[in-house]
């Protein structure tokens, strides 16, 4: 995966196509107990007989990267910012089930600050889609030929007292990179993070989303839709707070610190 970043960085200045490829990337995988246990331990999920609701994202992430790092992709991988993510878990996925993962890109459109694109993932068991994900990325300053970017989902930001305080170490980015395959340099090392304009490493948005969902363990339905907006980058180390609020049909949540709101999410 590091290779993909290197390749993408080297190719960042080359001319690119102006529209999305119609590529669909696929793989079949049966996650091992060890892999799920590693992910669960870093994100704060228990090791149960079903996959954490956010886990399939890491199964799809490699395919997302392959698609986005390809020369046929209209945006350069370095500099893409994950701005929103929506996950729908249709039913609990058993640890040990064989899963087919499909990823494609869609909704490439101009945005006030650049260009926006969605990477759409579907995970199936047999003929049934059991999990879907939509990751929205923004390329600042990039150009899309047509259209207006799709609206980001509406998510409330609860403001109550903290439900939890998280002590996040400087190595969190490296630890999540090891279990997710997301080795974006902004998460790994302060020097590489600086090269991309961050004073220190930042937490992966999907780790923050996963850890927030893990905090609702036991209080979640078996099928759910989890939508998150990534706001301010969460610098490491840090001590942010989680805010949760039970609402009709689910939960609203936010991760905040003195720097502001890092993530707002809703579970329905």
């Amino acid at each position: 995966m590091i290779g993909l970043y290197a390749k993408a960085a080297a190719g960042a200045v080359l001319p690119r196509p102006s529209s999305l490829p119609d590529t669909v990337r696929t793989r079949t995988v049966r996650p091992t107990v060890g892999r799920v246990a590693d992910y669960a331990a870093v994100c704060g999920f228990p090791l149960s007989d079903v996959l954490p609701a956010t886990f399939p994202h890491v199964l799809a992430f490699g395919l997302q990267m392959e698609l986005m790092a390809a020369r046929s992709f209209p945006l350069a991988l370095p500099g893409l910012v994950h701005v929103a993510n929506a996950i729908t878990l249709h039913r609990a996925i058993g640890l040990g089930e064989e899963l087919d993962v499909r990823v494609h890109a869609e909704r490439f459109a101009a945005h006030a600050r650049g260009a926006q694109v969605d990477l759409v993932s579907a995970v199936s068991a047999g003929d049934t889609v059991v999990w879907e994900g939509r990751s929205t990325y923004l390329a600042r300053g990039a150009h899309a030929p047509t259209g207006v970017a799709g609206e980001l989902p509406e998510v409330a930001t609860p403001e109550g007292p903290a439900a939890a305080s998280w002590a996040l170490g400087a190595d969190l980015g490296r630890r999540y990179a090891a279990v997710s395959g997301d080795v974006n340099p902004i998460h790994l090392n302060p020097l590489t993070a600086k090269a991309f304009g961050f004073p220190r490493t930042i937490a992966h948005g999907m780790w923050t989303a996963a850890h927030a969902l893990a905090a609702l363990q036991g209080r979640l339905p078996e099928a759910l839709t989890y939508t998150v907006l990534f706001r301010k980058p969460l610098l490491l180390p840090s001590r942010p707070e989680l805010v949760t609020e039970r609402v009709d049909g689910g939960w609203d949540l936010a991760v905040r610190s003195r720097a502001g709101v890092h993530l707002a999410g809703s579970v329905r």
Partner: protein
């Protein structure tokens, strides 16, 4: 006083240590087992009277293990919980605690049991290192800290790994049991026969679907992976003794329980609570007794406390040892079960040690551990009580009448025994 109803149970298959559950913590296994129980009995968002469980091998971070499991489960978070620990007696002692509160009318429902992992065992820092670190934490000046840092030695990196041995004797449980086996002249053949039967009984119980509503698969296991359905006396006879010394050694890995990971829980309630939740009652919890022996300076063996507990329990309930349809005697070692039975049959022991005019006598061996026991299933210390209580309750329910005796020996020279009767 009303008797607590045993409504059902749930456990995960037991796994040999460092195997299928190597990555699972006590909290993972206990929460999973609790959620399985909640799913089986439709208890999501239900506030129960309390959940009582424990673990023998426990990380210091797990001080509130059972409460944490409740908070992570689908039970209402308003369900109180607490941990207990009485070595291998933990699960049954937890059941007694819950049953007693139900009998007293203090609670209407509860869950009892335990969990243990020998794989994810706590490893403590070296004791010398720990003392330096504790002092360092309390040091106020740089000078004090530097002085303490000077006490660090390379050898202190060697950690303390938990030992399956008695703190006061330094002998392993197996070595203690070997002394008792020799004292009672328990033969190798008799031990291997009991072990083979345990495997055959457990396999048969699985095959006839007995555990379908008692066990929930976990991490790829659907049955206890220590179970060897084709176990025979002949195969067991080939193993080399591992406990005891010399020619007379009889205890092998085959007739001793292996280190195991797992969790087991039992659901109890008042009859009214069970009826209100449309849950059939399998059995009732009649009475229990705990005993302890002086295995350090006295004449008794480490695992022989149930020998003393049972006569006291029988007397209080006006029963004889023969008044039972099922006997669930925990198979810490095959020799432990056989020495216990021998002690109850021995007139001299009855008179001199138990203070009885006559021995308790022998039992109908066809009623012993009829659905298998720890030699086959394995023995995650604190989980064994929950496994046995749920198993016996279901056996009594199937039979529709009668009563069963549970006997569990524990480290520290303790024993926990109990009586269950079929729900009329």
């Amino acid at each position: 006083m009303r008797k607590a109803a045993v409504i059902g149970g749930n456990r995960i298959p037991f796994a040999r240590a460092n195997g299928k559950y190597a990555r699972a913590s006590n909290l993972d296994m206990l929460t999973t087992t609790l959620d399985g129980l909640v799913a089986r009995f439709g208890l999501a968002d239900e506030r129960l009277g309390e959940v009582v469980a424990g673990a023998v091998l426990k990380h210091s971070r797990d001080f509130n293990l059972t409460r944490e499991a409740v908070l992570g489960s689908r039970l209402a978070p308003s369900t109180p919980a607490y941990d207990i620990q009485q070595a291998c007696g933990t699960g049954l002692e937890a059941t007694i605690a819950v049953a007693n509160k139900i009998a007293l009318g203090q609670i209407e429902s509860g869950v009892a049991g335990g969990v243990d992992t020998a794989s994810d065992a706590p490893i403590a820092v070296n004791e010398d290192l720990r003392k330096v670190l504790v002092a360092l934490n309390g040091a106020r000046t740089l000078q004090q800290r530097l002085k303490l840092l000077g006490k660090l030695r390379p050898g202190q990196i060697v950690p303390e790994i938990p030992q399956n041995s008695e703190p006061r004797t330094g002998l392993s449980m197996g070595e203690h049991a070997a002394i008792t086996a020799r004292e009672w002249g328990v033969s190798r053949e008799a031990q291997d026969e009991l072990a083979a039967l345990s495997h055959q009984h457990l396999a048969a119980a699985y095959d006839r679907g007995f555990f379908d509503d008692l066990v929930t698969p976990y991490l790829g296991l659907t049955r206890d992976d220590n179970l060897r359905p084709d176990s025979t006396v002949e195969k067991l006879a080939r193993l080399t003794p591992v406990f005891g010394k010399g020619d007379g050694a009889t205890m092998t890995a085959g007739n001793s329980t292996p280190l195991t990971d797992g969790a087991a829980l039992t659901l109890l309630g008042s009859d009214e609570w069970a009826a209100a939740h449309n849950l059939p009652v399998l059995a009732r919890f009649v009475d229990a007794e705990t005993a302890a022996v002086d295995y350090v300076h006295g004449r008794d063996g480490l695992l022989t406390a149930p020998v003393y507990a049972v006569p006291r329990l029988l007397e209080r309930n006006g029963l004889t040892l023969q008044d039972f349809d099922f006997y669930e005697i925990h198979e810490a070692f095959a020799s432990t079960v056989l020495a216990t039975l021998a002690a109850w049959e021995d007139p001299g022991f009855a008179k001199e040690r138990l203070g009885l005019d006559a021995p308790l006598g022998s039992i109908d061996r066809s009623r012993l551990n009829v659905a298998g026991s720890s030699l086959a299933a394995g023995h995650p210390f604190a989980a064994t009580g929950g496994r046995i209580v749920s198993t016996l309750a279901k056996l009594l329910h199937e039979k529709g009448s009668g009563r069963g005796l549970i006997s569990i020996c524990a480290a520290g020279g303790q024993g926990v025994v109990a009586i269950l009767e079929a729900a009329a």
